[in-house]
């Protein structure tokens, strides 16, 4: 296979020397963006939607999240960490919140802020938006869902709400505050602790003609370990930190399933989990779903409680969030301040589809190639064994007509060709080694 063996993508990277080419990832990718060749997995970067499904199943942790280096924070004098509510739900309730804040300060941040501070005013904006826009309005909260729609459901892009997600509104709020206080651009750094790679992609290459004021994104799993270790080791606290923890129960629950839709007027639905999301969008695209005003759609099962960088069990995390929310009021002190300026910054432009060119941009050529692929598919056994390095027989057929794989990559056809004397055993083994890597077969000698 001569697929451009790209191992780099904005939000994730496959570390070649750790990847064992086990092919687990190629089976779960919702856009079939992964292939194994030369014993290693590679990504079609254009097709990847940053959902992280591949990361979840990788048994060797070869898929690396492209988060920013922690030390980048020290480039700035004022170092702000935007902390999502799921972060606190990673800890057991016996770990005092105060200690967590102090450790974050000790690790180098000068200020922490709650990400979902902007949720209360955002909810009002969404309710206004839903009143006037074409329905159903699809929430813009989950970046993996936005990208899935761009790539696989282009006809639905216009339904995606053209309002920024809470993280961006909060980031804008603090940027404004620094500006107001006359602090120079080079002196403050806003960092975001992310529960998923989708949010990394969303900050680094946002949609809707927007540029994020966030300077860097940190991996929540990595940071949790850092904080918890410091807690366990009882590191001495020598620094002070400014705490902007204002948050309502709505804010705490916003990243959980139903935490958004339950505040929107009209008929709403909350859908979570990649498979459910795809099934539902399929129906929506067929116009089988009628009379729904608002859709909260999240790529992860249990929404962000099930984010790939959330180390704790998703149900326990969600339960923790509910328990935290039950102890606080449903509004907070900064709500009015946010309201004052939220409507000025919350809007973004239309989101464009991102077409996944399967065959060719020229439809005439595309039809011819697709016809060839259909014929090929009939020759393949149809069991989607993956021994060719592609996720399915259909995907291999497509790769072959695109000139990115050889028909001999199919182990069944290869055996038939061998029997007919059309290729030698030596050639057949060479093909196998090309796909799965030579070393894998050495042990049997």
């Amino acid at each position: 296979m001569n697929i451009k063996h790209s191992t780099y993508h904005r939000a994730l990277e496959i570390t070649e020397n750790i990847c064992i080419g086990c092919s687990h990832c190629i089976k779960v990718c919702p856009t079939e963006a992964l292939r194994v060749f030369g014993g290693k997995a590679g990504i079609h970067a254009d097709w990847c939607i940053d959902c992280g499904e591949c990361y979840r199943v990788c048994p060797t942790r070869a898929i690396r999240v492209m988060d920013d280096d922690f030390n980048k924070i020290f480039d700035y004098k004022h170092r702000v960490l935007l902390v999502p509510s799921v972060f606190f739900a990673q800890f057991s309730e016996s770990v005092p919140r105060e200690s967590i804040y102090n450790i974050i300060g000790e690790l180098g941040f000068t200020e922490v802020c709650a990400v979902e501070q902007s949720v209360d005013s955002l909810i009002d904006e969404i309710n206004e938006y839903v009143k006037i826009e074409e329905k159903p309005v699809i929430s813009s909260f989950c970046p993996a869902v936005i990208r899935l729609i761009q790539v696989r459901f282009p006809s639905l892009v216009d339904h995606i709400m053209k309002l920024l997600p809470p993280i961006e509104i909060t980031a804008q709020y603090y940027k404004k505050r620094f500006e107001r206080d006359g602090i120079s651009d080079n002196d403050y750094g806003i960092f975001y602790l992310t529960p998923c790679i989708g949010k990394i992609a969303a900050v680094k290459s946002p949609v809707g003609g927007y540029t994020s004021p966030i300077h860097g994104v940190l991996n929540m799993d990595y940071f949790y370990n850092k904080v918890y270790l410091a807690y366990k080791q009882r590191i001495p606290i020598t620094k002070t930190i400014i705490i902007n923890s204002e948050l309502s129960s709505k804010g705490v629950l916003f990243p959980t399933t139903g935490g958004e839709s339950s505040h929107i007027k009209g008929k709403t639905l909350a859908i979570d989990g990649m498979k459910n999301v795809i099934d539902f969008l399929e129906m929506l695209e067929n116009e089988e779903i009628k009379n729904v005003d608002f859709l909260e759609i999240r790529a992860c099962d249990e929404s962000c409680a099930g984010g790939i960088l959330s180390h704790r069990n998703r149900f326990l995390t969600a339960d923790s969030l509910r328990s935290i929310a039950s102890k606080i009021p449903d509004t907070h002190n900064l709500v009015d301040k946010y309201k004052n300026y939220c409507s000025a910054v919350v809007h973004m432009d239309k989101i464009e589809p991102r077409s996944m060119v399967k065959y060719d941009r020229d439809i005439e050529i595309a039809i011819k190639k697709m016809e060839n692929a259909r014929e090929l598919k009939l020759m393949f056994p149809g069991i989607d064994c993956g021994a060719c390095g592609a996720p399915s027989c259909e995907a291999l057929a497509e790769d072959v007509v695109r000139g990115q794989a050889d028909i001999n990559a199919c182990i069944f056809l290869r055996t038939i060709f061998e029997k007919r004397g059309e290729i030698t055993i030596k050639e057949a083994i060479k093909i196998m080694e090309e796909i799965w890597g030579k070393e894998r077969f050495d042990k049997n000698d």
Binding site: N286, K358, I363, A366, I367, M370
Partner: protein, 137 residues
């Protein structure tokens, strides 16, 4: 490029299969999403019509660089009054009207709205053939 799908009357679980498959194909060919939407809406409506009102049918789809032609042939009651069935608002007609045998024409205005051309051949007591053409450009 040619595709054929069989449709069984009364099987709502499978209704929409042909439109989903055609949709997938058109997306892979890079057809404009707005056009795909029209194809899906028209085909889905026509497909459900067969399931709801006919005994069985066959959908033939022919995809060419310029557009798609869908021919839906059903064995069923036929449409007694095509002109009436084509009237807007008929699709929301009362159940009585449906019982009179007009059912098989339900949704025709919607199909017609989404198609570049629609032709209907029908014989009461025997069946209906719809030919839907939608251009890609």
């Amino acid at each position: 490029m040619h595709f054929e799908y069989k449709v069984e009357g009364g099987d709502f679980t499978l209704a929409g299969y042909a439109s989903s498959q055609i949709k997938k194909t058109l997306k892979q060919l890079g057809v404009d999403p707005a056009v795909i939407k029209r194809v899906v809406v028209a085909l889905y409506e026509a497909e459900v019509n067969i399931v709801a009102h006919a005994y069985r049918g066959v959908i033939n789809a022919d995809i060419q660089p310029g557009g798609i032609t869908l021919i839906l042939v059903d064995e069923g009651p036929g449409i007694p009054d095509v002109e009436m069935a084509m009237k807007k608002g008929f699709s929301t007609a009362s159940p009585q009207v449906r019982e009179m045998g007009f059912g098989a024409g339900m949704g025709l205005p919607n199909i017609s709205e989404n198609a570049d051309s629609l032709s209907i051949e029908t014989e009461v007591g025997s069946g209906t053939t719809l030919t839907i053409v939608i251009n890609f450009k």
